[in-house]
């Protein structure tokens, strides 16, 4: 049976012509606006995250749908998928990481410039998932520090977008001094990085 072609029957008017990010807190007068450097940089960074997809299996297929026009990750300022770790801000690990692949993930992470964030998409990247076996890494947090975990097997594109939005939250609120702090150094040292 053929399905009826659906048109945009319900007209939804645009709220504004161009969607803009909310203005940060600050004092404003005629011809000037004063706020903290932290918030401005956070605002700029969080709306221009360049993702680096590290897709090894089915979660990668969901990511392709997420990047496509229907779900459109570009709305969040992340349409520029870089395939060079040197240029990217967000490492998105999607899929089963075998133990043999672990050093590769770490190498890619090391090649990224600070500040860098990591998101583990799907059960396998987060915890090994159903592959509770000798050959599979039981979660990528054994080799690189992870900021956001997206559960699901595989997660739907909405879940991946939710994960990216949580990364945006972290990026926007991060203190500029965090990456120079002792706590961050200790975290990296616990992974054997510098």
């Amino acid at each position: 049976m053929s399905r009826p072609v659906s048109y945009n029957l319900i007209k939804k008017p645009l709220e504004t012509d161009i969607s803009l990010a909310d203005m940060p807190e600050g004092s404003m007068g005629e011809g000037f606006f004063a706020t903290k450097l932290n918030t401005v940089i956070g605002l700029a960074r969080k709306n221009s995250i360049w993702p680096l997809p590290f897709a090894t299996s089915c979660c990668g297929i969901e990511f392709m749908a997420t990047m496509g026009s229907h779900y459109d990750l570009a709305r969040f300022g992340s349409e520029r998928v870089g395939f060079s770790p040197r240029q990217c801000d967000l490492l998105m690990v999607m899929g089963t990481i075998a133990k043999k692949m672990g050093p590769v993930v770490k190498q890619v992470y090391l090649q990224m410039a600070e500040p860098r964030w990591v998101i583990a998409v799907g059960a396998c990247a987060s915890s090994g998932g159903i592959f509770d076996t000798y050959s599979v890494l039981q979660g990528i947090d054994q080799v690189v520090p992870v900021d956001v975990y997206v559960p699901g097997c595989p997660p739907r594109p909405e879940a991946i977008i939710d994960g990216v939005m949580r990364v945006q939250d972290l990026v926007g609120k991060e203190s500029l001094r965090r990456r120079n702090g002792d706590r961050y150094k200790l975290l990296l040292e616990s992974y054997g990085i510098q």
């Binding site: 133990k99 043999k100 915890s127 090994g128 509770d132 076996t133 000798y134 050959s135 599979v136 039981q138």
Partner: protein, 168 residues
């Protein structure tokens, strides 16, 4: 005259009267055993014989039988006669404490990677293999994971509650 299992069995018992044994035909596929020292002699005979012509190796694998003492590890060769389209299965057994078996790489190039895989998972030492090192697992692995004494699950994991996985 087409080649039959009966005829292959006859040729083998004529050539190796005392050595080849345990003939069986599960699902119509001729299966037999030989002592591990004779594996190359048998494979060569099957290859060179003008009637048998088993000149294609489809598979080579290992099996671990922890309960049969002195014959714990098996190496199974699957051979194919492409002209008559007949397949046979040939097994040799070895002691797990001294798992030395002559390599078949001289006869079949296909045996190279399959013997490496068998070494990787079962620790069978193929004597004379050109490059016997791990092929699928990480190089740092210090055991042979398909041997029965090693559990399937990753042993480094501490966050899984065994009760919830039916192995409490």
């Amino acid at each position: 005259m087409t080649l039959t299992n009966k005829h292959i069995k006859q040729r083998l018992t004529d050539k190796f009267p005392e050595q080849v044994s345990c003939f069986d035909e599960p699902y119509g596929m001729l299966t037999f055993e030989a002592p591990k020292e004779l594996n190359l002699k048998v494979l060569n005979f099957l290859y060179d014989d003008e009637e048998l012509k088993f000149r294609f190796m489809t598979d080579l694998c290992g099996v671990h039988y922890p309960d049969s003492k002195g014959k714990e590890l098996a190496v199974v060769y699957h051979l194919h006669n492409l002209e008559d389209n007949i397949r046979i299965r040939f097994k040799v057994f070895t002691d797990i404490n001294q798992p030395d078996i002559y390599t078949a790489t001289g006869l079949f190039s296909a045996a190279n990677w399959m013997e490496r895989e068998t070494y990787d998972f079962y620790g069978v030492n193929f004597v004379g293999h050109p490059k016997l090192k791990r092929i699928l697992n990480v190089d740092e692995m210090d055991y042979f994971p398909m041997r029965k004494e090693f559990p399937l699950e990753d042993q480094t994991r501490i966050d899984k509650d065994d009760e919830m996985f039916g192995r409490g």
